[in-house]
Amino acid sequence: MLEAAADWLGPNGATALALSLKVSFWATLCSLPPGILCAVALARGRFPGRGLLNGLVHMPLILPPVVTGYLLLIIFGRRGWAGAWLEENLGIVFAFDWTGAALAAAVMGFPLMVRAIRLAVEAVDPRLEAAAATLGASRLAVFATVTLPLILPGIIAGAVLAFAKAMGEFGATITFVSNIPGQTQTLPTAIYTALQVPGREGAVARLVLVSFAVAMLALALSEWLSRLVARRIAGR
C-alpha cells in the first residue's frame, strides 16, 4: 500500500512527504523541552531579561520568514559562528541538510508552542502547587507531579501547532537549506518546485491533497488526545 502511494505521488513527492514528516517530528520533539521551560519562565518567572526573552521567543512570528532563514544561515551556516563550532566540536551540520530544515521548522513553530503551553501554565492554580510543597514535595517534584500533568493538554496543543507549522514551513526553510530533492525538499517546497514546471498540475494537486490529509489527521489526533487528557484531569 505504501508502494502504491509512493507510485501515485511520484518518487519526488513521496520523498518530500517522508522528509517533511521526519523534519516536523524532530522539530517538534526537540523544541518541547526548551518550549516548556520558556513557557514556565514567562508565565511564572520574575527575573531580569524576562521581557527580552519574551521578545526573542516571539521574533520568528513577527519577522518575515525569509529574514529568519537568513539569520539562521548567518548563525548556523557552515561559516556561521555557531554552525562552525557545532561542526567542529559535535559533528552536527545544519547547512543544506534535513537537520537544518528541522531547525528552521522548530524556530518558526517555537512561538506558537510557547504561547499554547504558557496559557496552560497560567491556568494552573498556584495554590495546588503550594499544597504539594506543604506535603513535602521540592520545587522539582511539584513541577513533575502537579504542574506537568495539569499542563499536559496545553503541551499537546502546543506540540500539534508546532508540528502543523513545521509541515507547512516554507520561507525560512528554503532560505536556510535551499530546496534539494531528497535532502531538504519538504512538501511545501516540492509543491513550489512542481508549480514552476508547466504541465505538472496533477503532481501539484496530489501533493496538496496529501498536505491536507496530514493536517486533518494531526488535528484529529490532537483533539482526541486533548479530550482524553482533559477527561483524566477532570476525573470523569
Partner: protein, 365 residues
C-alpha cells in the same frame, strides 16, 4: 510545642503576633480578615514574614535574626486548606498517599488504612476529587495532610465551606483525630462552637494582633474575653464525663462542679465530653429555685461582675475551680445585692447545654 513570633507589613495592615501552642489543639480564633491565615501561612513557610522566629519542638523553622528560613517542603507541617486543594488529576487514594513518599525515612505516622477508617473515606478511594462533595473533600484533605507524617497539623477553617449539617457530620471525625493521633494541631476558626468543642488552648486574634491566649476553659469563662466575642457566643465550657443514661432520654454528666443533665447524648458511659453553657442561658438566684422546671442547678460564688450597659456579665466560681458566665441585668445585680464573694445558685436551662466533644487524651490544660 510551637512558638511563634512574627511581624509582617501589608499595605494598610500590620501583623504583629506572638503566641505559644503547648500541644493538643490550639485554636486561632478571630474574625475574618484578622490575620489568622497569614499567621499559619508563615508557620507553613508559604509566606516569608518581615521579621520573626518560628520554632517547633526545638527545630527552628525561621529566624529573621539569623536569616534562617526553611522552605515549606522541609517543614513537615500538614496543612489542610480552607478549599481542600485536592489534586484534580489524581484519585483520592493517590491524593492521600502523595505526601508519604516525601516523608523522611523512619518518620512516624498513621497508616493509610487507619486514616481511611478514621475519616470514613473507604468508599471514595478510586474516585477523582471532582466527584466528591464538600464534606468528602474536606475529609480527604485532612487525611492527605495526616499521611504526610507531619510534626504539626494546620487546619484552616476546614469546615467553613460546608453547611451546618455537613459541619456537624465532620466534627466527630476531628474529635477522633485529636484523640487518636499525638500530632499537635493549629485550628483556625471564627466559629466559637467549633473551638469550644475541639481546642485546649485558645489564641484570640484581632486586627493582626494576639489579644489573649491561654487554656480554653479559663479564657471562655473570663468576662474580659467575652468583650471580644459576639454577645450570643459568650459562654463557658465545663469538662465532664458521661456518668449514665437515664430512662427518660436524659444523660447524666459528672463534672467537678456537680452533675448536669443533658438531652440526646449518645456517647458511652465514661466518655469525656465538654458542656458549653452560654451566658444567656444562666439564671442567678440566692436560694435554690423551688418548684422550677430547671434541672441543672449548681452552687456557685460570684467572683467578678463586669459590664457598663443595662446587661452585665457575672463570673460564677463553681466548686472544683471551674467558672461559669451569666449575662443578667444590672437591675438584677442590684436587687439581689450581688458582689464578689456572694454565695448563690446558678440555674442552667437544659436547652442551654450544648453537646460537647472529647478532650484530648491527657492533653487537657
Amino acid at each position: 510545642m510551637l512558638s511563634v513570633s512574627l511581624r509582617h507589613g501589608f499595605p494598610g495592615f500590620t501583623l504583629d503576633a506572638a503566641f505559644e501552642a503547648p500541644g493538643g489543639v490550639t485554636a486561632l480564633f478571630g474574625r475574618s480578615g484578622s490575620g489568622k491565615t497569614t499567621i499559619v501561612n508563615a508557620v507553613a513557610g508559604l509566606l516569608r514574614p518581615d521579621r520573626g522566629r518560628i520554632v517547633i519542638g526545638g527545630r527552628v523553622l525561621m529566624d529573621s535574626a539569623t536569616g534562617a528560613f526553611l522552605p515549606p517542603h522541609k517543614r513537615r507541617i500538614g496543612y489542610v486548606f480552607q478549599e481542600a486543594r485536592l489534586f484534580p488529576h489524581l484519585t483520592v487514594r493517590q491524593n492521600l498517599t502523595y505526601g508519604a513518599r516525601f516523608a523522611p525515612r523512619g518518620a512516624q505516622g498513621p497508616t493509610l488504612d487507619h486514616v481511611v477508617d478514621l475519616l470514613g473515606i473507604g468508599r471514595l478511594l478510586d474516585r477523582r476529587p471532582a466527584l466528591l462533595s464538600g464534606g468528602e473533600k474536606a475529609r480527604v484533605a485532612i487525611g492527605r495532610a495526616l499521611l504526610s507524617r507531619p510534626e504539626l497539623l494546620i487546619l484552616d477553617e476546614p469546615l467553613a465551606a460546608l453547611d451546618d449539617r455537613r459541619r456537624a457530620a465532620i466534627l466527630p471525625y476531628l474529635e477522633r483525630l485529636q484523640g487518636e493521633t499525638a500530632i499537635p494541631i493549629l485550628y483556625i476558626s471564627h466559629v466559637i462552637a467549633e473551638v469550644a468543642r475541639l481546642a485546649n488552648t485558645l489564641v484570640l486574634i484581632d486586627a493582626g494582633r494576639v489579644t489573649r491566649t491561654g487554656p480554653l476553659e479559663d479564657l471562655l469563662s473570663d468576662p474580659a474575653t467575652a468583650a471580644l466575642l459576639d454577645s450570643d457566643e459568650v459562654g463557658a465550657v465545663l469538662p465532664g464525663r458521661v456518668a449514665g443514661h437515664e430512662g427518660d432520654g436524659l444523660t447524666r454528666i459528672a463534672s467537678p462542679a456537680g452533675d448536669l443533665l443533658v438531652p440526646g447524648l449518645a456517647a458511652p458511659v465514661g466518655y469525656p465530653v465538654r458542656v458549653r453553657i452560654r451566658a444567656a442561658e444562666v439564671i442567678v438566684s440566692l436560694v435554690p429555685p423551688q418548684d422550677s422546671s430547671a434541672l441543672n442547678v449548681l452552687p456557685a460564688t460570684v467572683s467578678r461582675i463586669e459590664g457598663d450597659g443595662p446587661m452585665v456579665l457575672v463570673q460564677l466560681r463553681l466548686p472544683g475551680g471551674a467558672a461559669l458566665l451569666a449575662r443578667i441585668t444590672r437591675r438584677s445585680v442590684a436587687a439581689l445585692g450581688l458582689a464578689p464573694g456572694t454565695a448563690c445558685h446558678a440555674t442552667i436551662k437544659s436547652a442551654g447545654l450544648v453537646q460537647g466533644g472529647t478532650e484530648g487524651q491527657g492533653e487537657s490544660p
